[in-house]
Amino acid sequence: MDFSLSNEQRSWQMLARKFADEEIRPISLQCDAIDTPRETWTWDIIKKGSKLGFRTMAVPKKWGGQETDFVTQALVMTELAKADSAISKAFSQNWKWSHLISAACTEEQKQRFLTPFVADDTFVLGKGITEPGAGSDNRMPPADDPKPGLKLKAERSGDEWILNGEKAFIANAPVGKLFFIDARTDPTVPLKQGITMFLVPSDTPGFRIGKVFNKSGWRFYQNGEMIFENARVPHANVVGEVNGAVKKSGGGGGDTTGGDLFGDLELCANALGICDDACESALRYAKTATQGGEVLFVQQHVQLKINRMFAMTEALRSFVLRVAWEHDRRIHSHNAGLAMNYSCDAVQEVTELYMDIRGAQGGAMDHHADKLARDAFIWGHLAGDSVSRMKVTRRIQ
């Protein structure tokens, strides 16, 4: 049993903390306040972070990345998220799919895509699964019905596949250069057996981005529609087997790729950053703001709220580190999923309590407290919805 960090882990953590303090936090509320969803993203912070390795740190060294372990990745996500959860996610989303490239792509594909990805500070990755009519059905397809689930169609035509359909709510869609796209290649069989995954560059003919969604939280982190109208993708861009993609992306067999496992860790490590921010901010506020001539901290109800905030946060930190370590050891475990579900409860309760401690000042809520609660609400449909919880429960032996 050893909770101490290696020198390398510690130095990544410190690097992230410095970058978060000096570069991210100063722009966080500004980016959040931008009204037009298409304008919340700024390349400047991505480029700066990329130069420090925060875009490519999950890429193996042999392909030019930093090949950090999961514990380091968790530490960095938390530090970045403590300054801005959405900006942290904008970086880690690239790790998620570079894990997938490592796990599922051929050497030729890695050569074609990882090399330019590593070389270009503005090369951002994404993955399209969800569609307007198919969200949870992709995660937990009904046992008794092959029809539900994604509908985007891919048909073979010589050396190419022709893609038609739409994706919705796709993270990084408006800014990404390369996407993994799940498409139905056999509509006659249940979802798990009829899906193929494709690598689709953003400049693919017939492929374009539609609206950018106007999210209430995570405003920096963009999320958009994808439209495929006879989009042509070379057969060489098929990831894994034809009709074999769901297994690889973790939808069915689950837990077989780093990419899927990473997704659970990512959400709980990021939530931890928000919790850290809320705890520190609440404590600082309680120890400086006054009420009746004394600092707010002397109020018993404030102390009790702060207690709950820190207790949940430290429980979450312990859990996140354990999950990261289990990933590094490739231990098969339901803990990553449980930690993700738990992080939803924790981040929402902690940010609500922070709001409560701030109270409405001068007729309005503090922008920072309001932002954290809006960011935390994102977890509700990503990490804490009933489908996600039931799916995790079914993994418990």
Partner: protein, 409 residues
């Protein structure tokens, strides 16, 4: 005798207002550009329409041109309006309630003769109560159950100068301030033991209004400053006025108008989630047929029905203090109870409703995020629930705050 039948008038006005909210308010309020909580402008035209329906003068007595609605009716109307739009509900609740207090209960005949025609004759004649001294903190806090410091007195002063009063000072958290045409202002007059109320028209010389950030309070609020502001001598209300207005502090305390508003927000979210759960198919069946979703909707329905029973009880009680005297109801601040309970439950209900919408539930241009935001505003309005619980605790404990401390609050 205990009886939960609504009157024919109550049922009718509920239908009328519900219909108005559905047909007129929602199409405007739920337009995606107005859903952006950071840029919500007050839909003045809908407020005009509501005024023409009599909702601005709802509580004003019938013989003065109002609807003479009792507290319960006012709460029912406020819920229905808020199910359409919380801002509209807030503005109307404030004006209607102040209209009744000022005109029916506090003005002299002469004052009434002067001001009533203006009030009833102008759909945009809104009212505001400027009671809270700027930058004062009236929370009990560590002084819970001990005498409060008397620091927080009324600091806005009025001095007689010829046939006029000259007012100096500043008030904050004034609901309706940016649109009010008449302010009731709590002032200290040198030589007088108790504070008084002066009526100040919005166009009086020396008054200035700074509107609040629109994102947070419901309706519209602001700060009001008085710099040698002059009003005619006979704008002074009688001795009872300050006590009546100050004891309720802000319109909606004592009578649970803002809890009814809160309820309307929760109901709108619930209705939206219920509709969506019927429509959206997942796993081959409508969402509502999934146990987990059905249970969530049931929990929301429970919160709504329980909260409504609590709000209605408090509304009726505020009109019937004799029911506390005869021990039909407990001698507790039922409006505070309704406030704490409703505000906590409605935040849960709106969040659960949004989660049923999945990714659509986090979008700023969809109604669900508006409902969550609106419910949070209620949760954190005033001094918050922690403070409300302390005030309740004092009463439970049988503690009586010294009069001096009370006056100072």
């Amino acid at each position: 005798m205990y009886n939960l039948h609504l009157s024919a008038e109550q049922l009718e006005i509920r239908d009328t207002v519900r219909d108005f909210a559905t047909r007129e308010i929602k199409p405007v309020a739920l337009k995606s550009d107005r859903l952006d909580v950071c840029d919500r402008r007050l839909p003045m035209q809908l407020l005009d329409q509501a005024s023409q329906m009599g909702l601005r003068t709802l509580a004003l007595s019938e013989d003065r041109g109002g609807a003479g609605a009792d507290h319960l009716t006012c709460c029912i109307v406020t819920e229905e309006l808020a199910a359409g739009d919380a801002d509209i509900a807030a503005v109307l609740a404030t004006t209607s309630w102040l209209g009744h207090l000022l005109i029916d209960r506090l003005m002299s005949d002469a004052q009434r003769e002067r001001l009533l025609p203006k009030f009833t004759g102008d759909d945009r004649f809104h009212l505001a109560f400027a009671g809270h001294e700027a930058d004062t903190d009236t929370r009990l806090g560590v002084n819970y159950h001990r005498p409060a410091s008397a620091a927080a007195g009324v600091r806005t002063t009025a001095v007689k100068a010829g046939n006029e009063w000259v007012i100096n000072g500043a008030k904050d958290y004034v609901a309706n301030a940016p649109i009010a045409k008449l302010f009731a202002v709590l002032v200290e007059i040198a030589g007088q033991l108790k504070p008084k109320i002066l009526l100040v028209p919005a166009d009086a010389p020396g008054i200035s209004v700074r509107a609040h950030d629109k994102a947070w309070p419901h309706g519209c609020g602001g700060d009001v400053a008085f710099k040698d502001c002059r009003v005619p001598a006979d704008n002074l209300l009688g001795d009872d006025a300050a006590a009546l207005l100050a004891s309720i502090d802000a319109p909606g305390e004592g009578i649970p108008l803002f809890q009814a508003l809160n309820l309307g927000i929760g109901r709108a979210a619930y209705d939206a989630a219920l509709d969506y759960a019927h429509l959206r198919v997942q796993g081959g069946r409508p969402l509502i047929e999934h146990q987990a979703i059905g249970s969530k909707l049931a929990e929301m329905a429970i919160r709504l029905e329980v909260a409504r029973a609590t709000v209605w009880q408090a509304a009726w009680a505020s009109d019937h203090p004799e029911a506390i005297a005869d021990r039909s109801l407990p001698d507790l601040p039922l409006q505070t109870i309704a406030q704490v309970f409703t505000s906590e439950m409605m935040v849960k209900a709106t969040k659960d409703a949004a989660e049923i919408f999945g990714a659509m539930g986090v979008m700023r241009d969809m109604p669900l995020q508006k409902y969550i935001h609106d419910a949070r505003v209620c949760l954190h309005s005033g001094n918050g629930n922690s403070e409300a619980k302390l005030r309740l605790a004092e009463i439970i404990a049988g503690y009586r705050r010294p009069v001096q401390a009370l006056a100072a609050e």
